[in-house]
């Protein structure tokens, strides 16, 4: 699978009717095959940035380019064949089965009024298998557990066969086992399919374990970006999350131990 670079340059995003930018002057480039985790406290602009990267919010200033072309110049269907976004809490259409939902992922690939091709059917089958949903394919979504439902949504964006996947807190409200499954799957999709992933996560240890790079947001600005070992430090935790915490390593993975409230560098 060929990859394409996603680039946000001097990006400012503002929600309709808001009087200030939720994302301010963010410059971020995501290389093909890379996993970038957006982290930051509540209200730091993670979801807004993801929406901007997916063209759901038009830049107030700056631009987002995919494969060298500004997002607004991409025909919607052509972009949807290459970029998929999964919001944090998508509405579940009543009565829709797992297979039906996953088949929706093929929408950008199927011409209007055309029937599914062999390739479309195969993509749905592969997505169901990848998320281990074969046995649940005929089940209505509302009968699934939270973890199963989340996997079904991820299978849908997989069936879309994008090069770039934008995910907003895919592990939110899942138990530990299902969180692990989702993250494992994302890592595998990146490794085996070369899928580029931009994902917002609340759990810093999970983000550090999954991502090649972290992009840390604070009050709408990019506080720091880089490899987890470089970004995830005690100073950052104090400045951004206002906690006094220790960063350690366990079995090669970064670990955090919060000791209490911190004293951030208020100028930032």
């Amino acid at each position: 699978m060929s990859g394409a670079r996603l680039e946000a340059t001097r990006l400012h995003l503002r929600h309709a009717q808001a009087d200030r930018d939720a994302v301010r002057d963010v410059t971020l480039a995501v290389a093909p095959g890379e996993i970038v985790a957006l982290v930051g406290p509540n209200g730091s602009g993670k979801s807004t940035l993801l929406a901007g990267l997916a063209r759901e919010i038009a830049p107030r200033a700056g631009r987002v380019c995919f494969d060298g072309t500004p997002l607004e110049r991409w025909p919607r269907r052509r972009l949807a064949r290459r970029v998929a976004r999964l919001p944090q809490d998508p509405a579940v259409p009543e009565g829709l089965t797992v297979a039906g939902l996953v088949a929706n992922g093929r929408h950008p690939h199927v011409a209007p009024l055309a029937a599914f091709s062999t390739r479309d059917h195969a993509a749905v089958r592969e997505a169901l298998a990848a998320m281990e949903l074969g046995d649940l394919r005929t089940r209505p979504l509302e009968t699934l557990s939270g973890g199963e439902r989340r996997r079904a949504w991820i299978a849908m964006v997989l069936a879309q066969e994008p090069e770039l996947l934008l995910l907003d807190e895919p592990t939110a409200a899942l138990d530990l086992r299902h969180q692990w499954e989702v993250l494992e799957f994302l890592a595998r999709a990146n490794r085996e399919r070369g899928l580029t992933i931009v994902v917002s996560l609340h759990d810093l240890e999970q983000a550090a374990g999954l991502a090649h790079r972290l992009a840390i947001l604070h009050r709408g600005r990019l506080y720091a970006a880089g490899a987890p070992e470089r970004c995830l430090g005690e100073e950052m935790l104090r400045d951004v999350f206002a906690v006094d915490a220790r960063v350690g390593k366990d079995d090669g993975r970064l670990t955090l131990r919060v000791r209490g409230p911190g004293d951030p560098l208020r100028s930032l």
Partner: protein
């Protein structure tokens, strides 16, 4: 309370400017950019209507580069900010601190009659200054634990008038200086305080300070 604004700024007292430069050098070298109380005056302005008739607000004030260096310094601030964007605000901040360690060396390098601040344009202070630009800046430092020259007791009143700027070379300089520490901002106005007269107001006095 306010003198009639002459519209003709006069140089700040040299010892005041020396103090301000020393405070900022100390801030960069010893406090990693955390402002000292000595750079945060109370700005007092007329505000007609119910109440005492005036408004006092604290601001963090800045020094402008000497007019001959203004454009070059603005470009340096801007370049420093923009070249660090991809690494993030923390890296920009740290590079800014590094840069400013060598920046505050001599009062000769700064505009002798101006102090500046940046405010959201809709704040009561900005609106009051728009209505009546006459103002007084009160600098008050009283910390018995600080035995250094920059921390000794000072109570100074600087009278003058404010210019509100939303574009131009001074606006750009203040904007990019601020961006190094707080990012770029919209809907803000630069207040350029022009100095006319200074007083030492310790213990109820009102002694003119003449450089």
């Amino acid at each position: 309370m306010f003198r009639r604004a002459s519209g003709r700024p006069r140089p700040l007292p040299r010892e005041f400017l020396d103090w301000q430069v020393a405070l900022r050098r100390h801030t960069m070298e010893e406090r990693h950019g955390a402002p000292h109380a000595g750079v945060a005056p109370l700005v007092t302005v007329h505000r007609p209507g119910p109440g005492p008739g005036f408004l006092s607000s604290s601001v963090i004030c800045g020094l402008l580069p000497h007019p001959e260096q203004l454009a070059r310094k603005t470009e340096e601030f801007r370049s420093l900010y923009e070249s660090g964007l991809e690494a993030g605000a923390r890296a920009v901040y740290d590079r800014g601190i590094q840069y400013f360690r060598d920046y505050y060396r001599s009062a000769d390098d700064f505009d002798p009659d101006s102090l500046t601040t940046l405010l959201p344009e809709k704040t009561p202070l900005a609106e009051a200054l728009r209505a009546d630009p006459r103002c007084a800046l009160v600098f008050f430092v009283f910390d018995l634990t600080d035995r250094s020259e920059i921390g000794r007791l000072r109570c100074l009143q600087l009278d003058g008038f404010a210019e509100l700027l939303d574009a131009g070379p001074v606006y750009d300089n203040v904007l990019w200086h601020n961006a190094l520490f707080h990012g770029v901002v919209d809907d803000h106005v630069v207040i350029r305080f022009r100095h006319e007269a200074s007083f030492d107001t310790r213990f109820g006095a009102m002694e003119p300070i003449v450089s």
